[in-house]
Amino acid sequence: MIKKTIGAWFEKRFDVKAIQEPLEYQLRKPLPGHISWFHTLGSMSLFLFASQIVTGILLLIYYRPTADEAFESVKFIMTKPYMGWLFRQIHAWGANLMILIVFLHMLRTFITGSFKKPRELTWMIGVGLFILTLIFGFTGYLLPWNQLAYWATTVGTEIAGAVPLIGEPMKLFMRGGPVVGGETLSRFFVIHVIILPWLVFFLVAVHLFLVRFQGMSTMDPVDKEKPVKKGEGIPFFPHHIVKEGVVFFFVLGVLITLSIMLPFELGEKADPLKTPDGIKPEWYFMSMYQVIKYFPKLVGIFVVGLAPMLLLIWPFMDKSSQRVPSKRPVSMLVGVLTILSLLIFGILGTLSETKQTFFGKTYDFDIYGVPHLINNSPVKANIEHH
């Protein structure tokens, strides 16, 4: 009765059928038969983005973006408002999970060859979204204004400053002064809560439009794709939506569990006069940070800068028409090597400048991540000293 009344109310004012039909079409449009659980990663990225927006808005109620108040306001959020701690932890863990899931989504797209013609633009927008997600992480990391955040931002902006020609003005633009300070915080805050969310929102909208408009990629070779006929494949609704619901509940559980079991500590307030030992970036920048160490400054930045560029133009470099991984051995080798290098350099970066004990022996890892056995014998140590 109510449904009918509301329907009638709209029909008198709008051409509802004209809107309903394409929506219905999109909803019932079948997906290719090979669609797996990994095809839910895109939706999960979207879910995490929405979660970040909601928790971000809640954090904004109490957050104060000034050097004097930022740290205290985050501490306030974590101790006073109802469930403030949970929103902050979900926001922090959500950022990390979002980067991981966006990366896995890209990896799935890479493996299934979905980035190939005619979906090059969708891939490029996806790469842009991944880069923006990383910038989200970088700008958000400074906002609690604690020691780790302050010094990681100092190192990060210093690296950006080493880029030839544009580096120095870019560093000054990011910092708002010669050093990281209140101006930097204001800038990062504006980028994090205004510019990036809207930019990501519009890019996601275009990305989704393209995915729906061009349809999900099949495993057929390029230019030989057969459209999925009605009755074939898997209906988007309700079949795929139900599948996404399963993954949604799982990701939600993981997100809340991580927030409770492994909460991010706030640490000490930023002190520009006290440099902590072993400043390192977050895990998602660790491999890049480590790679830079092995090369002269400019070469290192060039190498690191090359990766996103290659990622962006990859659809134009991988010219083979095949999408099935077994028929693209070179691409798969490049993919495996990339993943391995990310893991190896990430581990080396984590171990560098630390002391670790393995099998009862203590090793001192230098800045390159090379272990040096620490000689515990006082006699030998004395000889070495002399």
Binding site: H239, G253, I260
Partner: protein, 406 residues
């Protein structure tokens, strides 16, 4: 022009008092160069005060006979009485000393001191005079760390005589004061921590007016620094004994030169000196001791709890602030116990108890809240697993129906 007048005033004023002398015409130096070396770097030498101011004579005369002629007021090496008088000539002159901001009652005070009385009344030449403590030609400012009367050096300076058995024996004065002081809470603060604000000999006995504090003045001497303790002591039942003149006040419990850091065990050691363990007074003391012990123990335990909570990642700023208040109350109990009033001490103890319990409860609640968060994961995961299972079953049904259809 104004600067000129200012310079002229500051240079000219001391000169006008007749202190400054032209050293190039001082012929004493030609023979007494070693004394001159000491004098020229001293506080007096720097003000242009030279030989004849203390020793008389005419330093401008090249001829020794003429320089030391009786008409010149030549004193030579002054004896102890003369030293006091010579120093006092300038140092009791308000007009002369005003310029330097130095007090002028040293001579008057010295005359009232045990040292001064012995010198002037008994003509006892063993007593110290100005130069024995301050030095002779090489006198430096009392704020100069090399001065024998700089706070850090005072105990050693006094001990030069008071630690000399031969010198002290005729007077029947004990000689272990320095050793006791060195090992005392004051001595350790002075010698180990270099705390020049701590009590030295002169803080209790006075400097120029050095006298041992009489029985009635002990609380006054200690009370110069320990004001709250003194005020509270005067409210105690022991204060009534002061007028009877046979109660050594602070010294009765704390001793004098060898004062040790105070612990509640003092109630067991000191009270029994005068009170039998069965007496009401002793038992009252034990009750106060109980309050102090509990308050200290509670504070220590709570500090440990807060520290551990901080290590475990809890925010404890508010608890730390409350704990500071509790700590202040424990500190207040120190002076307050000198009233020997159970009620007064109990009032503070109650506040310590309330605050420490508050802190402990808050930390406990925070820990419980953390625990509850983890427990809440169980129902959450049960809900999630149910939802996932239901959706999986639905997906299977949909897939099966779809496969059957096509």
């Amino acid at each position: 022009m104004r600067i000129f007048f200012l310079i002229a005033f500051f240079i000219g004023y001391p000169l006008s008092l007749g202190f400054a002398q032209d050293v190039s015409k001082n012929y004493c130096i030609s023979c007494h160069d070693d004394q001159w070396q000491d004098l020229k770097n001293s506080i007096h030498g720097k003000q242009g005060i030279t030989c004849e101011k203390c020793h008389g004579g005419d330093s401008t005369q090249k001829d020794k006979e003429l320089a030391k002629a009786p008409s010149t007021g030549y004193v030579g090496v002054p004896d102890k009485n003369q030293i006091v008088q010579i120093c006092g000539t300038c140092h009791s002159n308000v007009e002369a000393m005003n310029f330097y901001g130095i007090r002028t009652d040293q001579l008057a005070r010295y005359k009232t001191s045990m040292h001064g009385k012995k010198l002037f009344n008994d003509n006892d030449k063993n007593v110290p005079v100005c130069s024995d403590c301050h030095g002779y030609h090489d006198v430096v400012d009392v704020t100069d760390p090399t001065s024998p009367v700089y706070p850090l050096n005072v105990p050693k300076t006094c001990n030069r005589c008071h630690g000399n058995e031969k010198l002290m024996k005729p007077y029947g004065i004990q000689m272990d004061m320095f050793a006791k002081y060195k090992d005392s809470v004051h001595g350790k603060a002075l010698f180990e921590k270099k705390d020049i604000g701590v009590a030295t000999c002169v803080s209790c006995h006075g400097s120029h007016g050095a006298l041992p504090p009489g029985v009635k003045q002990v609380a006054d001497a200690c009370g110069k620094c320990h004001m709250n303790e003194k005020d509270n002591f005067l409210k105690s039942p022991h204060a009534k004994l002061i007028d009877q003149g046979n109660f050594p006040q602070c010294v009765a419990c704390h001793s004098n030169h060898g004062i040790q850091p105070v612990a509640v065990t003092l109630y067991d050691q000191a009270c029994v000196k005068c009170h039998q363990p069965q007496t009401v007074a002793f038992k009252e003391g034990q009750k106060i001791k109980g309050l102090l012990s509990k308050a200290q123990q509670d504070l220590q335990t709570t500090q440990q709890i807060v520290k551990q909570a901080s290590i475990d990642g809890l925010f404890v700023e508010e608890e730390t602030a409350i704990l500071e208040e509790a700590k202040t109350k424990v500190f207040e109990m120190g002076p307050m116990q000198h009233t020997l009033s159970y009620t007064n001490v109990a009032e503070l103890a109650k506040q310590v108890d309330t605050k420490t319990k508050d802190v402990q409860n808050t930390i406990h609640e925070k820990r419980q809240s953390l625990q509850m968060r983890k427990i809440a994961l169980w129902p959450l995961w049960i809900f999630i697993i149910i939802m996932m299972t239901v959706l999986c079953i639905r997906y299977k049904q949909l897939s099966s129906n779809h496969d059957k259809k096509h």
